[in-house]
């Protein structure tokens, strides 16, 4: 469904942040991207959704091939219509209610009628358990609720894939569960997801594939079970044990 090849990205001439990333996602895959801070995970997701322009790389999306550096605006729009992005800090529209947050992209970006948009929005809000707060503004919600609305905003457009950039790492510990639950349900329903996360439980139990990044490169990729039970690379092993240690303390 989505494949990227040899993605390079640097912000200045001296330091390359992404040093040739390859990644292949099939329909229904839930891929977790793990890696230490600064390894380029966010940059990778942003390049995949063209919030950042890669220096070079190839993308194959639904059978069509694109040059990730020279891609046209209209192609970006076409690809974005099939994707959703969930940010670490939610980025809900601050001047819009919960319902408006979900419908705005549908009515203005996708030219859907108001009533269709509202139906799609209510449907999505029900799926994340936020249908009872449609008139609230973002600042009236907890972080977990905001993130669930942000997920509904992405879901409402019926995307083929959803990208998550550390969706729970800005949340208080007691709010992480509600967001992970929503994501687990989506995974069970067969949604294709690419998730940057530090949640080892999610990576191990929900995702079917894990990709470990360090220093702008993919160090190891494997089915989740295998990745955790039998990591091949030394760097992967030390990363896993350091994370597990953090979890215990």
């Amino acid at each position: 469904m989505l494949e990227i090849k040899n993605v390079h990205k640097s912000f200045d001439a001296h330091t390359e942040i992404l040093k040739g990333i390859d990644l292949k996602i099939n329909k229904g895959d839930v891929i977790a991207i793990l890696g230490p801070s600064g390894s380029g995970k966010t940059t990778l997701l942003r390049c995949i959704n063209y919030l950042e322009r890669a220096d070079s790389g190839t993308m194959i999306f639904d059978g069509e091939e694109y040059d990730m550096h020279a891609i046209s605006k209209s192609s970006i729009t076409r690809i974005r219509k099939k994707t959703a992005f969930v940010f670490q800090n939610y980025n809900l529209f601050l001047n819009k209610t919960v319902l408006q947050n979900v419908t705005l992209g549908l009515t203005s970006g996708r030219k859907m009628s108001r009533s269709d948009a509202k139906d799609a929005a209510m449907d999505a809000l029900k799926r994340v358990g936020m249908a009872d707060r449609i008139d609230a503004f973002p600042h009236q919600l907890s972080g977990g609720q905001q993130q669930r609305v942000a997920i509904a905003r992405g879901l409402a457009a019926n995307p083929e894939i959803i990208y998550f950039d550390e969706p729970t790492s800005a949340l208080d510990p007691e709010l992480i569960g509600e967001v992970l639950n929503v994501m687990r349900h989506l995974a069970e329903e067969g949604m294709t997801m690419l998730v940057v996360t530090h949640e080892m439980g999610f990576a191990r139990n929900v995702s079917n594939y894990v990709l470990f990044m360090d220093d702008g490169k993919v160090i190891e990729q494997a089915p989740s079970k295998e990745f955790f039970s039998n990591p091949r690379e030394e760097r992967t092993r030390s990363f896993i044990s350091s994370i597990l240690k953090k979890g215990e303390s």
Binding site: F85, N91, F93, L94, N95, G109, G154
Partner: protein, 223 residues
């Protein structure tokens, strides 16, 4: 106060109020609308870093802010005719007030636009909205809220500023008072009366500003 002065004030009042509502307020509204349009466009150009245009906008703001309004009025009304550009007094006033205040308001708007978190635009992109759609529905409304006190300030200062139009022969309220005073020589009383009318109206605007700020705070504290 003498009986004569009281009588003069009484006679002058309807004339002053008439000029206030038929000239001062329309002049303010037209100038302010022009200023607002200029401000939004100039601020958006700078926010978007559009190359040549951004530079022109900076030059505009620089020149307008660094020359006196009075001089600008004289230049356009008395100066431009010598190179063949002749404008009536009233349009001159609208144009000069609009262009002048527009520069200050553009700076308020630019600051307010830049204060909107960058994630708002990115979120718009990610739900398939274009730059302009996100600008219109998300960024500008938030920027307006931030800039609202500064814009209100500009409006109030413009109401008073229109009195300067008297020097280019626009008979707004203040000039009307000057004309009456030329006949009756009652400066203290008359100019006090004019001041009180400005004070009353600007007080109403101040209350409206408070009310507007409360309305706009529906979506939370400042961010």
């Amino acid at each position: 106060m003498s009986e004569r002065a009281l009588q003069i004030l009484q006679d002058a009042f309807p004339q002053l109020v008439e000029k206030f509502f038929t000239v001062t307020i329309p002049l303010t509204l037209m100038s302010f609308s022009l200023a607002l349009i200029i401000a939004v466009i100039v601020a958006m150009i700078q926010y978007a870093h559009i190359k040549g245009l951004s530079f022109l906008c900076r030059v505009y703001i620089w020149i307008v802010r660094c020359t006196p309004l009075l001089v600008q009025l004289y230049l356009v009304f008395y100066g431009l005719p010598s190179i063949g550009i002749v404008l009536d007094a009233y349009p001159t006033a609208v144009l000069v007030f609009g262009i002048n205040e527009g520069a200050y308001m553009a700076e308020s708007m630019r600051g307010a636009l830049e204060a909107v978190p960058s994630g708002q635009m990115e979120a718009g992109y990610c739900v398939s909205m274009t730059y302009l759609q996100t600008m219109w529905h998300v960024i500008l409304p938030q920027a307006f809220r931030t800039a609202f006190p500064a814009l209100s300030n500009s409006l109030i200062s413009m109401v008073k500023g229109t009195s300067l139009a008297s020097v280019i022969t626009v008979t707004e309220m203040f000039r009307q008072a000057v004309v009456i005073n030329g006949r009756v020589y009652e400066s203290l009383a008359l100019y006090t009366e004019v001041a009180l009318i400005y004070l009353a109206f600007c007080s109403v605007l101040t209350l409206l500003q408070r009310w507007g700020e409360k309305k706009l705070s529906a979506y939370g504290g400042t961010r």
